[in-house]
Assembly symmetry: C2
Homo-oligomer: 201 residues x 2
């Protein structure tokens, strides 16, 4: 599927075929493509919690406004991030680069994030969304439908998935075979509101 | 271009042809596609500041580690978000939906965000990144290259673009004709580290 067509046809689907099982090759391909999303300093701080256990799916649904897609979609990814990725053996993120580049970027990464907790959290949200958007468009390309979800209790989900103290949950992405088309797409705000030339008035 | 190929071929490019001028039809198409990214409650809280003024480009570059792509790329988008989008005539985001749906979702949106400043900020970062990833893949599909940038002084850029008090800057995306290929893609972390089945250990 053409990328422009994928962007145009992707919708946030809420109803999925609960009997559909995704072939493992497609699951692996989705993950491989998701990992090609860019991340700040290539630190790949996103973590993909793939919930397969049906009992755990039900528990997540119970703290997510009982949304049916949480249990019905073929795949449920809880997108999390490691807030301290910049501290965890950061040299490995640049092991592919020439040594002089490594010598600049690896210390710069630490200096950029360390002591800036809001920036670390912002980066967690950005990285997971870059990865999640890539995942949803990759799913579209593989013939699936998807949906992003923020309507859940993050503290309750954190407990269910034993989220480490230095990680944060961002949002959920479900992927599978949609059964009911999404509503007609909502009106887009005008360019006059969304696009600002040079500076705000 | 196939969407999977777009994801695989997209790289974060740093060197652009400063003489290239993008046709207005392509600029409009990029913006149209970017606006198809999903947002929580369809509130479209992202704002795209498109910096055209060369003098302003230079000023942004001066507070962005002097990165050449800030002035050289054909397009410079500063991705911002309105933290209070949920308050600003929110009925319009669901004007397309049946009345009973509107009656549920519009008040739910307010209840979800109001009084939760960290959640409002998280949503700003997520929405802008979903839009930014869509923009970068759309650019790829139109035959351009792109790059995301977080290396700048957000307070200084906010002043330059007269960012309103209730908005926040997320990151920058440049788009244009790349002149130097990106370095070979960095090593990806293993699935063993990035993909967690069901719950953390």
């Amino acid at each position: 599927m053409n990328v422009l067509e994928a962007i145009e046809s992707r919708r946030s689907v809420k109803n999925f075929d609960p009997t559909h099982q995704m072939p493992e090759t497609d699951v692996a391909r989705l993950i491989e493509l998701t990992k090609l999303a860019p991340s700040s300093f290539n630190m790949q701080n996103y973590r993909l919690v793939l919930v397969k256990d049906p009992a755990l799916r039900k528990q997540v649904r119970a703290v997510a406004w009982d949304q049916a897609q949480i249990t019905d979609a073929s795949l449920l990814f809880i997108l999390c991030a490691d807030l301290n990725a910049h501290r965890k053996n950061p040299g490995r993120y640049w092991a592919h680069a020439p040594q002089p580049v490594q010598d600049i970027l690896v210390p710069a990464m630490g200096a950029f994030y360390e002591g800036h907790p809001q920036l670390m959290r912002d980066e967690a949200m950005r990285s997971t969304a870059l990865a999640g958007m890539t995942l949803m468009l990759a799913a579209q390309g593989l013939g699936y439908q998807s949906g992003p979800i923020v309507g859940f209790d993050p503290a309750a989900v954190a407990e269910l998935i034993r989220l480490p103290e230095d990680h944060v949950i961002s949002f959920i992405v479900v992927v599978g075979r949609g059964t009911v088309p999404a509503w007609p797409r909502g009106e887009r705000l005008s360019d006059a509101e969304v696009v600002i030339e040079d500076r705000f008035a």
